[in-house]
């Protein structure tokens, strides 16, 4: 009998930390001790804490281990599996309570969560359909097909008040109803797995951890709406998710959950995977459909909406991964149960990605209405290195930043919108005092400019013009009327752009202007970057008192602009050639490099005489 399951996370995060090597080492070590008949290794999807990877969960005890590198495996096996006590070294510490964590239940990051969508993630082997079946997999589909009429399914979804998890929060039941009523055939359902928001990977974690839940949701939706063919449009960057999805689809066909006459009814349903090729705009419904059709992913005006004219001109319903994965639990546990979770307007839970300057990075599922403070300081464990929280960016490049004064706002569609941001796909990127808001705005705008499909001038040219202004500002070449120009352009791009990408592209600029205008002004008027990020506004000098003359900085300097002061064991940075890359700062062990946010001209000390270096031309001797 198998007495213990060792769950090894093999999601993208943990595999990149070496979880496959861990798995192999575990196999070998268990075999060595003759434990391979009683202890089984299960590869699972993402457990949500990629930053602690490779992570592992031992059942039945529920012990949660972090950083389970292959080298730690012998000791782990000895301690836990032979001696039966937790291997303390690999137990994580809860940054909120500063206690060592034994099980997930002891960990604020996990115990605050309510897992509906990610219920199976990190618990089952995503490549084994039977484990999914064991957790009521495809039961909802079976019941729906044999016991419910399509209209009843839609009524149930409407009763649950489920809103689309892709960003806009459109009521799913209503969307399905419109599609149901469309009279044209055939109809298609599409799963949008083109999670392009930088800083968001909840869809990836669901597809890697529980691909069947998405397939089952799509099948239920297809039945309710009268579709018989579905597509999963997934980013090519998500190799592992693609692989697991393919495996899942293959297995679902084998077990008769896809294909012809499912559950003995007349309902046929086929699913195909379409892999994107790196275009953010393809997350937009109409662009996505063009891409599924093998064309350039350029959006089209709506109306007509996809439910009227979608793929190949036929009615098409597009929902995102998380929405599809929510269907199954609703059908299993009922709309009432689902509607009891969340806020008045937004029901259920949302998977969030916590990233950036935060202690607990990872994927967490919480009910709507959780406040940003709870999210960041409890689930997220606060800001590392004792830094100060500055802002949180929600909704990716289409969203905006929310500053500290609004941190007690509940997270739902309406309140985020009120603050000038959006929910988007649920990415939360936390920024601390070292993040420059002009730089952040510039970063997102550059992203949108790069990813603009170029179909309409406001987005194609407007974002470029805005970016040029921001570029200037971050270089210290800002002009007094730049803020006004930015605001005008932003309003125009927002109003006139064809699709969501352009309509929301100005959001980061608008919100940073709204909450951090003084930072823009510091850049423009004082030529200063308060957060010390914008390179052209920085200066690096060596504290001559502290310098011990070890020469590490000089050797690390890529432009050879650090020289030895003649006759002394000191080094000196010649400002003229300095590119402000910060390599010297990173390498100095004596804390003697000073980074300042004033422009170089403010701080440059008088230049001493240097020792000539053989073979190197002396730079500037002004």
């Amino acid at each position: 009998m198998i007495r213990t399951h060792v769950l090894v996370c093999t999601g993208t995060g943990c595999t990149s930390s070496g979880s496959l090597a861990t798995r192999d080492a575990l196999l070998a070590e268990l075999k060595k001790h003759g434990l391979d008949n009683e202890i089984e290794i299960v590869e699972t999807g993402c457990m949500g804490r990629c930053d602690l990877g490779p992570v592992s969960l031992v059942h039945p005890d529920g012990t949660f281990y972090k950083n389970v590198l292959a080298a730690e495996v012998p000791k782990l096996v000895e301690e836990h599996f032979l001696k039966g006590r937790p291997y303390k070294k690999l137990l994580p510490e809860d940054p909120t309570t500063h206690n060592a964590v034994l099980t997930q239940a002891d960990f604020t990051f996990f115990n605050r969560q309510l897992r509906i969508v990610r219920d199976n993630c990190g618990v089952i082997d995503p490549e084994n359909i039977e484990e999914y079946i064991a957790r009521d997999g495809y039961l909802a589909l079976g019941k729906v097909l044999t016991e419910m009429k399509p209209e009843q399914v839609i009524t149930e979804i409407k009763a649950s008040s489920l809103r689309g998890r892709g960003g806009a929060g459109f009521p799913t039941g209503k969307k399905w109803e419109i599609m149901r009523k469309a009279s044209d055939f055939p109809k298609y359902v599409v799963c949008n797995a083109d999670e392009g928001d930088p800083g968001a990977f909840m869809n990836r974690s669901v597809l890697e951890g529980d691909p069947h839940s998405v397939i089952e949701g799509m099948a239920i939706g297809a039945y309710a709406m009268g579709a018989s063919r579905g597509f999963v449009y997934i980013r090519a960057e998500y190799g592992l998710a693609v692989k697991r999805l393919h495996i899942a689809i293959e297995q679902a066909y084998k077990y008769g959950f896809l294909g012809k006459q499912l559950f003995g009814t007349n309902f046929d349903f086929d699913v195909e995977v379409r892999i994107g090729a790196g275009a953010f705009v393809c997350g937009e419904e109409t662009a996505l459909m063009r891409s599924v059709e093998g064309r350039r992913g350029q959006p089209q005006p709506r109306p007509p909406f996809p439910a009227q004219r979608g793929l190949w001109g036929k009615p098409t319903n597009i929902n995102n991964v998380e929405t599809w994965a929510t269907i199954r639990p609703i059908m299993l546990k009922g709309a009432k149960w689902f509607a009891s979770i969340g806020t008045e307007k937004t029901k259920g839970t949302k998977v969030f990605c916590l990233a950036g300057k935060i202690n607990n990075t990872g994927v967490a599922e919480l009910p709507y209405g959780t406040t940003l403070r709870e999210m960041i300081f409890e689930v997220g464990g606060g800001i590392p290195n004792g830094k100060k929280f500055k802002a949180v960016q929600t909704g990716g490049p289409s969203g905006g930043v929310i500053p500290e004064q609004h941190i007690d706002e509940p997270i739902d569609y309406e309140s985020l919108q009120k603050l000038g941001s959006i929910m988007g796909s649920g990415g939360l990127v936390v920024m601390d005092e070292d993040s420059c808001m002009v730089d952040v705005a510039r970063f997102f705008l550059e992203f949108c400019c790069d990813e603009s499909c170029g179909k309409c001038p406001p987005c194609r040219v407007g974002t470029r013009q805005m970016l040029n202004i921001l570029d200037r500002i971050s270089k210290g070449e800002g002009e007094p009327d730049d803020i006004g120009k930015l605001q005008d352009l932003a309003a125009m791009v927002k109003d006139t752009s064809l699709c969501g990408l352009g309509q929301t592209a100005p959001n980061p600029v608008l919100t940073t202007l709204r909450y951090f205008r003084q930072e823009y002004e510091a850049h423009i008027h004082d030529k200063r970057c308060p957060a010390q990020v914008c390179r052209d506004l920085l200066s690096f000098t060596i504290n001559q008192e502290k310098c011990v003359g070890c020469s590490v900085c000089a050797r690390s300097c890529p432009v050879n602009t650090i020289f030895k002061v003649k006759g002394q064991k000191k080094y000196f940075i010649v400002e003229e050639d300095c590119i402000h890359c910060g390599a010297c700062l990173d390498t100095c062990k004596f804390d003697s490099i000073i980074k300042a946010s004033e422009g170089p001209s403010h701080t440059a000390p008088p230049k001493p005489e240097f020792e000539p270096i053989p073979g190197r031309k002396m730079a500037v001797t002004r």
Partner: protein, 606 residues
Amino acid sequence: MIAPKQITVTIDGQKCVGDEGQTVLQIATANHIYIPTLCYLKHLSSWGGCRMCIVEIAGSPKVVPSCATPAVDGTNYSANNDRLRQLRRLTLELLFSERNHICPFCPTNHGDCELQQQGYRHGMDSVRYPYLYPALPVDTSGEYFALDHNRCILCTRCVRVCDEIEGVHTLDVAFRGEKNRVVVDLNGTFGASDTCTNCGACVAACPTGALFDKAAAFRGKLNTCQVVRTTCTECPVGCGLLVFTKENRIVEVFGDHDSKVSLGHLCARGRYETWAVPRERIVQPMIRTIHALKPVSWQQALREIARIRGKLDATQTALLVSPRITNEAAKAVARVAARFGKVGMFVARDESALCEAGTGALEGTNSLSNADAIIVLGAQPSRTHGVLAAKIRNAVRRRRAKLLVFHAHKSDLDQHADICANIVSLEHVFWDRVAEALKNVKRPALVYGAAAMTPIGVTVMARLIQILESNPSRHAPVLIPLPTSTNSQAVAAAGVEPVEDVAPWLDAQPLQYLHIIASDEPDGGARLFEEKPVRVLLERIDCVVVQASYQSELTEAARIVLPAAMWSEKSGTVTNIEGRELPLQSVLTPRGEAREDARILGELVS
């Protein structure tokens, strides 16, 4: 067909009635409400990219492109208000800042450029944003037109027209975002493209000076030109032309959107070959002296002809005419026929049977647009009847109509064909495949050319018709005969005998006088020499009179040359393959002393 439901909407406070399914722009235009557009072009799918035609829907903060938004009954739209005007102006500003739109150096400056017009209309007198001006290449390698990327606003009208009307999809947009660019094939050039048909539809569709005709550039503003509507006589399809002229010179030729035959489309021949290719005109009557042809007056020339003919018996004379003559000229030929020993019309090989077969159905060419199977038998429409080929390509590419091509020569249609075969030596199994392909076809069309009139062609055609008729649910196939000569069917109908082999015709009896009406045959009638013996036979004839527009080998062989009016100088009618009588309008006054064929004939016999 059920009449579409009527809907009522309010646009800018005005009650407008339209049909369900129409866009806001369509209804507005029909009700004389102007909405500015750039990427929109009637007859093309809407793109909705330029953001000029944006309108507001009452109760919604968002703006929508009226060209792509279906009007909803009872809705209140704003098409022109301060906010929209401001947004449009800013859009224009961004467009002007994007690429090099410095007007004085542009062939469409001063009125022909829609971008410029919109700039004026919206009071866009300055650009507040820095000019981005990437240095982009100019492709001048094309035979008739050039592409200057610096002036492109990426409206994709050219791309859509190339795909949706000409059906070759030589153009597309490549790259992404601000790097977007219109490309030819795999980012090649027009000159090197083997898919481009040079139809020039892209140039006609371009709202700016990005695509321009080399022969028309800087020759005059189109909005100050005279415009004449006439018919193309390059082939028997009979496309409508809009000819722009200035000071008795053609500046530009575009397709006529009101033409029932071509709906505004043209092929390279109709659009360019007739005017953008320099040819040596004959501008004066000429009589051969020992050394060369010497210009004379009409009077002298006619007197000389009368002198020669006076000496001859009618049976020693013959009249050979080109099928390009107008119906009126054909009647004139018929009238004077008795005065010649014989009268003939030179046509291409195997084409006389086509002439005798008469013309096809009246809506023949347009019926291709809803045929669900097209059989092309013994014809090469993409070489000889460009506009028809475009219709075939579109039926196949856009509506997935079946295409069966039976021909000895390769053509670009082959790549679209379900079945493509040489008509000689077909096996039984093959016919099963054909029958299979045509099984559920409801509206077949059969386009057949001269090669279908050969014995084997006739057999194949009989077989095809048999297959089509054995299908119970079909309509009778639409038959479209496709002679290559412009007006041959009408000329034959007027009683002029088609002559495929000129040599035996000439050789049948000793001739002393031969009058050839080559009219404005592009080669000046020299195609007669394709039959080798003709040259020798002509040398034997005492007097050869050639009545032509262009100098050629044929005129070199003539004793007397008469200057004939060319297509743009004629008026009258021609009859196309559908039997439509189409008007020819004279566009220019004849060059030099050129005269219309019918008049010359009349004077000849008076």
